[in-house]
Symmetry: C2
Subunit: 363 residues, 2 copies
């Protein structure tokens, strides 16, 4: 059976990437940046990757309405009706719910993959193989499938999925979800071989995630079930229902509202060179280094007594630096950040401080 | 006798201030910057200071011709004929010689003060008193007078003048000139009470420095003595002699070519709150500090675990910084410098490296 015509993709790209502030900003977030210097932004790379698997007319982009023009500019091949514009930020559950109702209205037999726009995947052929295995599974089972990345180190910044009973191929039942563990626990997780990183990439039939939302997140499901005729059509924007109803949804993640509560949750363990680019240190680790172990993004650097440092600059600039070890130096759009990599978890607080003291334009 | 009408001032402002790179640049050097945040540039402050002592029509500005527009803009009250534009950089001896010949042609009885444009003087009334004492002395003596600053610490970055036989008031014969001593020697200098910092501010009659140049720097004097009629007049620029002859002068300082060789050299010891702003550390020391002992020039700074650091930014920018102790952070015109204050003597080399590697626009 060829299910290809019923397969859909939803690329979520509404985040603001504040952990890469000031290089990633509310007005130009991470997913819209050519972070790896390849000539394609993270969103464009996510789109290119999925194009081999899903018919172009079945690829939907869901984002905050302030990024509409960025999406149109970066993905000119995506039709206007495949761009869903959220009128408010409400985390992943309302976002995925809207997409599922929208797709189910187009095609009651639809299966779908939901993926963030801002991850890096280096082994594309393996990615394709994994996604096809996932589709095959959810098309023959009423399952909620999440992709679990085979861990390569005891990271404390990720959620972990513990696998239970083996089902088929690379797919198992999920036993537990665990949010960011401390380093000791993370080491134990790795040693057992039972724990995988939660990628935030999901596959399911549209009807199955609708049912799961009705059961486990009924307040959200009720919003989308109550939509008047014509909502999930090409006239959706003109009808105005989403603009009115979406902001009323609870802001909650799909993991917390559905995946951690439902019974039919499965994990496919994968090894396709995944990195969520969640931290400056991750970007540093992933990027090619010069002889001094420095990484440069978009700038010329003249460095003395300086190593382990990442420079990310927007606009033409020469950086001359002496004496920085393991720092982040980022200059973009009126903000210069100089911060040790070891303290990058403080950057979110710095952004808050900057907004409080100097105004929202620094978000 | 009122000599005021015969008194002239020459403000030298042709330097490029490379020790403050990138904040001070070849295209906008230190003397043209409002370095103290007072609303007046160093050149303007030098001009304001001398205006109380010298008739405005007797104040000359000598600078490199590339800075002509900056001078006109910053000192709109100075007439075009009082701006001498050097066609090449040739250190202070040719610069002062030209000014002396020019002034002597206007007024054979002229006395003159020569001063750099980029120093800071905080005690203006004391400055005026000192300059008047100096003029009185050189008008009644055929003397070359230099101002010696009473030292407040054993600086190794300055030249020192040792005083000899006391002459009158605050004026003594000069015994020796010593270039930058090491720290041990500087401490000995201070302890003796005989050594003063060489300020680079001179007073003499135009005819007396002409004679001294003829005797001790005859190759330079010959150039200016050989000028055709009309050279040292309002038609000087049109006549073209300076444009042709000046670049042929030896590049040498007035200290080395004349002051260290002549017999009639005197020093007036002064205490008018002088600082040559020769280093970032000097600027740091002179500037008001915030609670973390940081200094900001022209920017908002949000700092964490950061002290003893100076931030000098051109253009609107928010700087967010964590973990810098005793650094210089300067961003201007396409260059960002991050350098420990303790290594600022390396900045000249960095500029050279930057030009070699990335082009002259970074000078």
């Amino acid at each position: 059976m060829d299910n290809r015509a019923h397969r859909y993709c939803v690329i979520m790209c509404g985040g603001i990437g504040s952990r890469f502030w000031p290089y990633s900003r509310a007005k130009l977030p991470k997913q819209f940046i050519d972070f790896l210097g390849t000539g394609r932004t993270l969103l464009q790379m996510s789109y290119d990757r999925i194009c081999n698997l899903i018919p172009a007319e079945n690829i939907l982009i869901i984002t905050n309405d302030r990024y509409a023009d960025l999406v149109r500019e970066q993905l000119p091949g995506v039709s206007e009706h495949n761009i869903l514009l959220e009128p408010a930020r409400r985390n992943t559950a309302p976002c995925i719910a809207w997409a599922a109702w929208h797709i189910a209205a187009r095609d009651p037999e639809a299966s779908m993959i939901v993926t963030p726009a801002d991850h890096v995947i280096t082994r594309e052929a393996e990615f394709e193989r994994s996604i096809l295995e996932g589709f095959d599974f959810i098309e023959s089972n009423d399952a909620l499938l999440t992709l679990g990345i085979t861990p390569v180190s005891p990271e404390t910044g990720y959620g972990y999925i513990q696998i239970g009973e083996h089902t088929v191929g690379n797919i198992s039942k999920v036993k537990t979800f665990t949010e960011k563990p401390d380093i000791e626990l993370a080491k134990v997780f790795i040693a057992t071989g039972e724990f995988f990183w939660n990628s935030g990439i999901f596959l399911w039939k549209a009807s199955v995630i609708q049912d799961a939302l009705r059961r486990h997140a009924s307040d959200i499901a009720m919003v989308f079930d109550s939509a008047p005729d014509g909502t999930y059509t090409d006239e959706e924007a003109e009808r105005g229902f989403i603009a009115e109803a979406f902001p009323g949804c609870l802001s909650i993640s799909i993991d917390y509202s559905v995946m951690e509560r439902a019974g039919n949750v499965y994990v496919e363990t994968v090894t396709f060179g995944w990195n969520d680019l969640g931290t400056w240190s991750a970007l540093y680790d992933l990027s090619p280094k010069n002889l001094d172990r420095n990484v440069t993004q978009n700038c010329n650097v003249l460095s003395y007594n300086c190593s382990g440092t990442i420079f990310a600059i927007r606009g033409e600039k020469l950086v001359v630096v002496d004496g920085l070890e393991d720092y982040i130096v980022s200059d973009a759009d009126g903000v210069l950040l100089i911060c040790p990599k070891a303290r990058e978890q403080k950057i979110k607080q710095m952004v808050t401080d900057a907004k409080l003291k100097f105004g929202d334009k620094y978000e």
